[in-house]
Each structure stands twice: as structure tokens, then as C-alpha cells.
């Protein structure tokens, strides 16, 4: 496994000409769980959208198993895209379809399997995430945790090589978040899928990630590389330290007003 499954080189992303992150480079090893970390507004989700093909980067290159994604034509991009699955922050289940139909649709579209086989595979994917009883339910009838798990099952529909998870534990209570962490670890062990996760939930990050990158909003670039524990223990950057230890950070008063937020008389 000499070649990383995903590598970004000097990527810059932004909206409408405003660059939010620049010169971001990192490599994701096969089979690892890679965390994209950073504070709110640091551009983590923007970077994720560009990794999954929804937002073209302003510059830089991105390679999946050596194949350049953004310079390929639309058909090639679709083909590469089918090798990874995405769990959106809100689940993003198709509201007009049942849970089972949500998971089945990618299989119906892109494989030649017959309906019965698809049905069995849908049951399997849902059972993997603990939702086999919810096959006939509509997304509106699911709780937040169930919707996320259903989204995860759908992301697994085509047996992807990579999974992208956007803030998987947001909106979940601690116990459900913990169960989702365990599920992520189990899935990685069982299917050897590579996972890229965007999160600022520290307990989850420490529990699952074994590599990562830290994006900073002011520097507008990645300021640290490594797993969450490595960053906490070995980074010399005060912002990284403060984030990983959930501490307050002494910042100079030259910060613009909107980035200062006083609580209990202290600034962070």
C-alpha cells in the first residue's frame, strides 16, 4: 500500500472569489480514519465539499488512488465518485423515499442486480448500522440518530473504498454519539474502508481518528498534521493546543470584534 488512497496538494477552496483555505496538502493512508479538524468557520465543510465533488477548488490538485479528480472529465469524475460514500451532516435522506428505498436507489441505478438481491443487500447494510427494523419508515419518522445511521447505510450502498462523514456526531446525545463512534470503528475493521471525517467533537475525534489535519481560520491553511492525540501531546502551536485540550486561549486584543467572545470575564 505505497500509494495513499487520497492525496491533496496545495488545495485552495473558497466561495465566490473569497478563499477560505489555501495551500492545504495532506495524504490519507488506506484503511485509516482521517480527521479534518478546526474551529467553527475554519472551512472544514467547504474542504469536504470539494473533496466529494460538489465545489471545485480554486487551485491545487486532488488524487484518488493516483487519479486526478478535478482535471478529469465529468464521466470519469462520476466513476471515481462512485467509489466513495458520503454521510451528510443532516443525513440528507431523500424525503419521498423510505429508508429501504434510500439505500436501494444507488444500487438500482448503478448495478445490474435484480430486485431480490438488492433487497437482501439493503437488509444487510441496514443491519450493519442497527436499523433493520426501519426499512419501511420514511425519513420524517426517524430520530436524529436513526437518520444518521440510515445515511451511513446509504453511504455504504455501493461498498465504497472511502467514506466521508460530515460532523457525524452533531446533534447526537453523548451515548448515541459514542455508539456511532463504535460503529465507525467496527465498520473500518470489518470492511477495511478508509474514512475521512470532519468534526469538532473532541471525544469522538480522540476515540476514532488515527491521523488528521488541523485547519485554522485566521491563517486560512492547515497548521498541524497528525492524529488528535499527537496534536494534543506534541503540537507546539497554541491554537492547536487550546482546541485539543478545550482550553481558553490568551489572544492579543488585536482580534476583530466578531472573533472575541467573552465568557466569565475571559476571552477565547
Amino acid at each position: 500500500m505505497s500509494e495513499p488512497i487520497l492525496s491533496l496538494h496545495e488545495i485552495a477552496v473558497g466561495y465566490q472569489g473569497r478563499v477560505i483555505q489555501r495551500q492545504v496538502s495532506f495524504e490519507v493512508r488506506r484503511g485509516s480514519i482521517f480527521a479534518v479538524m478546526g474551529g467553527s468557520g475554519s472551512g472544514k465543510s467547504t474542504l469536504l465539499r470539494s473533496m466529494i465533488g460538489l465545489l471545485e477548488p480554486e487551485s491545487g490538485s486532488m488524487r484518488f488512488s493516483g487519479e486526478d479528480y478535478w482535471s478529469a472529465d465529468a464521466r470519469k469524475r462520476d466513476e471515481i465518485g462512485r467509489r466513495f460514500g458520503v454521510l451528510f451532516q443532516s443525513g440528507a435522506l431523500w424525503s419521498a423515499l423510505t429508508v429501504g428505498e434510500n439505500v436501494a436507489l444507488p444500487m438500482q441505478m448503478f448495478t445490474r442486480m435484480d430486485d431480490r438481491t438488492i433487497e437482501r443487500l439493503v437488509q444487510l447494510k441496514l443491519a450493519l448500522v442497527g436499523l433493520e427494523t426501519a426499512v419501511e419508515l420514511l425519513p420524517a419518522q426517524l430520530s436524529g440518530g436513526m437518520a444518521k445511521r440510515a445515511g451511513l447505510a446509504r453511504a455504504l450502498a455501493l461498498d465504497p473504498d472511502m467514506l466521508f462523514l460530515d460532523e457525524p456526531s452533531s446533534g447526537l446525545d453523548p451515548v448515541t454519539a459514542r455508539r456511532l463512534d463504535d460503529l465507525i470503528l467496527d465498520l473500518r475493521e470489518a470492511t477495511e474502508v478508509t474514512i475521512v471525517l470532519v468534526s469538532h467533537d473532541l471525544p469522538s475525534l480522540f476515540a476514532v481518528a488515527d491521523d488528521g489535519v488541523f485547519l485554522d481560520v485566521q491563517a486560512a491553511t492547515a497548521i498541524a498534521h497528525g492524529s488528535p492525540s499527537q496534536l494534543r501531546d506534541q503540537s507546539t502551536n497554541p491554537k492547536v493546543q487550546a482546541f485539543m485540550r478545550r482550553e481558553e486561549l490568551e489572544l492579543p486584543n488585536s482580534l476583530p470584534e466578531e472573533q472575541r467572545w467573552k465568557t466569565r470575564g475571559r476571552q477565547f
Binding site: 451528510f88 443532516s90 436507489l105 446509504r154 467573552k262
Partner: protein
């Protein structure tokens, strides 16, 4: 009644607070305080709260003003006599109230505006063409039997665009026919030609009005619904999920919409035409004393079959327009509740304008072809 008084001697000012400082009572301000302190060269401001009654954040707002006045005057602000919780609240407030985030200023620059609007219209046009292209390829796939549209989606769209629309289409067309007959008869009477009412209603309804009116009704009803539905899908990331999985949005959303409208609109048009003729008949019988046989014979004589074919062609074009415009407007929506409503409204407006424009085009072409 909140009251405050400034007592000062030898550079030390004391603000004496008394009464109840509650949001229900009148506001108290400290505008003159900074100037007074500076003039009196006050070095320190402290408080006497022995006569302070009940208080809430109104007091804290006042104290914040005082603290700022003290800073402006260069005096030391001494909160030690203030109630404990008031001090804690004051601690949470920044030295200066934050600058409000402003919306970007829009200076009116005519030339830049023209340029921007031109670019926007061109890209909108390009977007529509792209959507039509998407639809064309999707429909082609449908025809060749390789469609990826779900049968269930088509069926539910058909149901919604078809049988459920019958009542409103019937009502509107009946009234149109009746009004035509009424107004037409009044004019024709001047030439003693009321007997031609039947031809008037027949030709006008079948060639023009039934198609346009039915299409407009469907544009409002079904077009608005499609746009809103797709706009909420955008807000819910469902469209992003489709794109990421690689499912062509055209096949999944546009094709069922356009196909179902193309199948139902012509039928609704035919139904509407007959109902419109019926409306004319009702008026003719009631106010002109015409008989049904006379009226219908006149209608059949006046309206050739080709007019129905013309109407059907028009409604198919209208159907494609409504489907494509509504879906596209939905896809362009921003992600908020307001945007869903706006998408529906924009779709309906664009549809109506488009239908009338397309109708004009058809009229010109028909005229040129001698039809």
C-alpha cells in the same frame, strides 16, 4: 421609578441609585455623565445603592453606560458597592458595544448594474438550455427504454397533475366559455349576428384560450408545487446527496415532471375545451334562447379538427416549459424557508410569462404557415 443622582466632591463622584429599576418602568440614561465627569475632573466613580429597590437588566444597561462614561472621562470605575449579580453581569459585557456587522453597501452604478444584469440573464438562459438538454437526454433515455426514472415517481406525479386537477380546470374553463359568450353576444348583437356566438366561443376556446388558461392554472398549481418541493430538497441537502451518489438530477426530478405534464396537459386541454364550449352553450341557452342543437352544430361547423391538433401541440410545449422552468427555479433556490416560497413564486411568474410568450410565438408561426 428609577432615579439616579450624581454627587461629587473633590474628584470623587458617587452615583446614588434609588427606586425600582425594572424593564416595565421608564428608562434612565446617563448621557451627560461623561461630560459632567470630565468637567469636574472626576477621578473615580462609585455607587450608593442603599435606596435601590428591585432591579433587572435595565439597571445593568445603565451601569454599562456609566462604565463607558467613566472610561471616556478617564475616571476609575468602582463597582464594589453594586449588588453581586449586577457586577457579574457587568463583567460579561465588553468595554464597548460591538460594531454591528453591516450588509455590504450597494451603491447604484448604472453601467455596472446593466453589465451584471446582462451577465445574469445570459447565465440564466444558459442554465435553462442546460436543463432542457438534461431533460432531452433523459427523455431520450426514457424512449429508448434505458431510463433511470422511477416508475413510482412518474405515477405519483401523473396522479397529481391529472385527475386532481380536473375540478379547477373545469371551473375555470367553464367560466371562460361563459364570459366569452356573454361579452361576445353583446358585441355581435350590434350587427345582428348573435347566432355566431357559438363559432366565436368555439374558435377562441379551442385555438387559444383553453390551452393557455389550462396551462396557466397548471403552472400555478403544479409548477409552484414542483419548485417548492425541489427547493426544500436543496435546503435539506437531498440534491447534494443525489449529485454525490452520481444520480443524474435530470433523470430523477425533471423527467418525471415533464413527462407527467406532457401526458396530462393535452388531456386537460381537450377536457377544458369541451367544458368551455359547454359554458358558452349555457349562456347562449339562458340569455339568447339558443337551442343546444343549433349551438353545437354551429360549433362543429366552425371549429376544424386541426384546431384541436394545434391546441395539443401547444399544450405539449407548455408542459415542457412548465416542467423545466419549475424544476430549474427550485434547483437554484437558496437554503432557507423564505427561499422555498420565493422559488414557488418565481416559478409561477416565469411560467405564466413563458406560456403567454410561447403562445404568441405559436400564433405567429401558425399565421406564417397559413394555418
Amino acid at each position: 421609578m428609577p432615579e439616579w443622582e450624581l454627587r461629587h466632591r473633590e474628584g470623587v463622584a458617587e452615583v446614588v441609585l434609588s427606586g425600582d429599576w425594572l424593564t416595565r418602568s421608564e428608562e434612565a440614561h446617563a448621557p451627560e455623565l461623561a461630560r459632567t465627569c470630565r468637567k469636574a475632573a472626576v477621578a473615580r466613580i462609585s455607587f450608593d445603592v442603599s435606596r435601590l429597590g428591585r432591579w433587572d437588566t435595565t439597571l445593568v444597561a445603565f451601569l454599562w453606560d456609566v462604565r463607558r462614561a467613566a472610561a471616556a472621562a478617564g475616571a476609575v470605575f468602582d463597582p464594589s458597592a453594586l449588588p453581586h449579580s449586577a457586577r457579574k453581569l457587568l463583567d460579561l459585557l465588553p468595554a464597548e458595544p460591538g460594531r454591528k456587522a453591516t450588509q455590504p453597501q450597494h451603491h447604484l452604478r448604472p453601467i455596472a448594474w446593466i453589465g451584471r444584469e446582462a451577465i445574469r440573464s445570459l447565465s440564466a438562459l444558459g442554465g435553462s438550455v442546460a436543463v432542457l438538454g438534461d431533460t432531452a437526454t433523459g427523455s431520450l433515455r426514457l424512449v429508448l427504454g434505458r431510463a433511470r426514472m422511477r416508475g413510482a415517481d412518474l405515477f405519483s406525479d401523473l396522479n397529481d397533475a391529472g385527475p386532481r386537477a380536473l375540478l379547477i380546470v373545469a371551473t375555470v374553463n367553464f367560466l371562460v366559455g361563459a364570459i366569452l359568450a356573454f361579452v361576445g353576444a353583446a358585441e355581435l348583437r350590434r350587427f345582428g349576428a348573435e347566432s355566431y356566438v357559438a363559432s366565436l366561443v368555439g374558435v377562441a376556446a379551442v385555438r387559444e384560450l383553453a390551452a393557455v388558461v389550462t396551462a396557466i392554472v397548471m403552472a400555478g398549481r403544479t409548477g409552484g408545487a414542483y419548485a417548492a418541493r425541489i427547493a426544500s430538497m436543496v435546503g435539506n441537502d437531498e440534491i447534494a446527496a443525489l449529485r454525490v451518489v452520481g444520480i443524474p438530477v435530470g433523470d430523477f426530478l425533471l423527467v418525471p415532471a415533464i413527462v407527467s405534464l406532457s401526458l396530462t396537459l393535452p388531456v386537460l386541454y381537450l377536457f377544458g375545451s369541451f367544458v368551455a364550449i359547454g359554458g358558452g352553450l349555457a349562456v347562449a341557452m339562458l340569455s339568447l334562447g339558443s337551442t343546444a342543437t343549433e349551438y353545437l352544430r354551429q360549433t362543429i361547423d366552425a371549429v376544424p379538427l386541426s384546431d384541436f391538433l394545434f391546441g395539443i401541440c401547444k399544450t405539449i410545449a407548455f408542459a415542457a416549459l412548465i416542467g423545466a422552468t419549475s424544476c430549474r427555479t427550485g434547483l437554484q433556490a437558496a437554503r432557507s424557508a423564505v427561499a422555498v416560497g420565493q422559488a414557488a413564486t418565481t416559478a409561477v411568474v416565469l411560467n405564466i410569462v413563458g406560456i403567454i410568450a410561447l403562445d404568441a410565438v405559436f400564433a405567429i408561426v401558425a399565421d406564417a404557415l397559413g394555418f
